[in-house]
Amino acid sequence: MSSLVTRVKLKQIEQLIEKGKRLDQRGLHDYRPIKIEQGLIERAEGSARALLGKTDVLCGVKVETGEPFPDTPNDGVMTVNAELVPLASPNFEPGPPNEDSVELARVVDRGIRESHAIDTEKLCIEPGKKVFVVFVDVYVLNHDGNLIDASALAAMSALVNTKMPNYEIKDGELKMKQGYTSLPLKSHPITVTMGKIANTLIVDPWAEEEQVMDSRISMAINEDNNICAVQKGGSGYFTPQQILEASKIAQEKSAELRKKLNW
């Protein structure tokens, strides 16, 4: 729900965007400053924190052993969970995941899964019986808009940072050995989210823009500039032309971000 202040600001935000400007001085297709830190949680097998302006997302990766799904006996398992931690925003409440956190988790999950970012075949220990399970937990620490991109960046950075324990199988028993290896990765998707305000697409909407925009579109792009996941959100609509425009912007912006990231 939009607060009264942003309702008043709506006109100002719209008029600026019509002139190609934004309240925080950015260009329509500019990201806020991006900062990524890796490996700050020693207890986790992998971790990373992504800052997108004031939006702050921490992601921890835990690797455990478990059973594979019956229909994919040779593949390891990956699950993404997202917590909208109450300390991140006055509008977040403690309690079980609501539809916003479920959607966030599933959009981040889809980007990683559909781009085949993790080489799940290499996570198989014993076909049909034992595989590695990768738990990706997204923890929102401060909400200032565009949680999807910040969470996707944090999650992918944490996976890059993840070290798996070495192991061997002795008499059918799994034994951990000394040392660690990196999580096997095949692809590094980048998710670009755009909002629609005054019938114009803007990249990386921040909190105030999010409250006045009528819809958003997120696209995950892989190294080959292919589209691997899309999600439209919000109660508005896009014309087919706007969607194609969004896919071009997403390709450009993801390529630009990719150069800055040391994945």
Partner: protein, 245 residues
């Protein structure tokens, strides 16, 4: 589970279920099927069998969820435990929570929310049998349920998916193609406004393939739109005839 077939589409461009690349599954729509709902619809789309019911606009329960400046649309997408091969727990899964949200958001652009402040409309979608593309079939039925409830709308919302199997972009994937194919692009569309109100995608597509899939899905939507309008007319033509007798 069956073994994966070698090819999902043969050299002549015929799919496993005998359809051509741009062919829809058989579709049946019926309006006003549930006596207790203010509006309802039933859809059979391939082997999908789905019921949708709309209640309202009515007072919100609990009251604090109502909004002073607009109507609130609530939606629950739910799958019956017997709707899929292996029994599904009736508790809402994360998938169902997400689909409930995107279905709600794809119908909202069609409604005049600000004309009915402090009221709510509840929309319940029950998937009785699933065969791939349930979210699209649900949306097509849900829009009809809203229209049948007499909620004023800018247009009907109609949904259809396109995707990629083997190397071909095809329309309206069914279960096996959805699971074994490489990409799926569900789209909801309001034809009179040229507005896409739901767009999701999973799988890997080049930008050209994505454009092709989107346009193919929109063409599919336009075909279903005609069947949708026909279903609505059918109910009210009967009502009209009865009133004239």
């Amino acid at each position: 589970m069956n073994e994966k077939p070698e090819k999902l589409i043969d050299k002549k461009g015929i799919r496993l279920d005998g359809r051509k690349a741009d062919e829809l599954r058989p579709l049946k729509l019926q309006v006003g099927v549930l006596p207790n709902a203010d509006g309802s619809a039933y859809i059979e789309h391939g082997k999908n069998k789905i019921l949708a019911a709309a209640f309202g606009p009515r007072e919100m329960h609990p009251k604090h969820l109502s909004q002073a400046d607009k109507m609130v649309l609530r939606c629950r997408y739910h799958m019956a435990p017997f709707s899929v091969q292996e029994r599904k727990s009736p508790a809402p899964s994360r998938r169902e929570v997400e689909l409930s949200k995107v279905i709600k958001e794809c119908l909202e652009p069609a409604l005049f929310l600000d004309l009915y402040p402090r009221t709510g409309v509840d929309l319940y979608v029950e998937v009785l049998q699933a065969d791939g593309g349930t979210r699209c079939a649900s949306i097509t039925a849900a829009a009809l349920a809203l229209a049948d409830a007499g909620v004023p709308m800018r247009d009907l919302v109609v949904a259809c998916a396109a995707g990629k199997i083997d190397d071909t972009v095809v329309l309206d994937l069914y279960d096996a193609e959805d699971k074994l194919g490489t990409a799926d692009v569900p789209i909801a569309y309001m034809p009179s406004m040229n507005a896409v109100t739901l767009l999701q995608m999973d799988g890997i597509l080049t930008a050209d393939e994505f454009e092709k899939a989107m346009n193919m899905a929109i063409d599919g939507c336009k075909k279903i739109y005609e069947i949708q309008k026909e279903a609505l007319k059918t109910k009210y033509m009967v009502v009209k005839e009865e009133s004239e007798e």
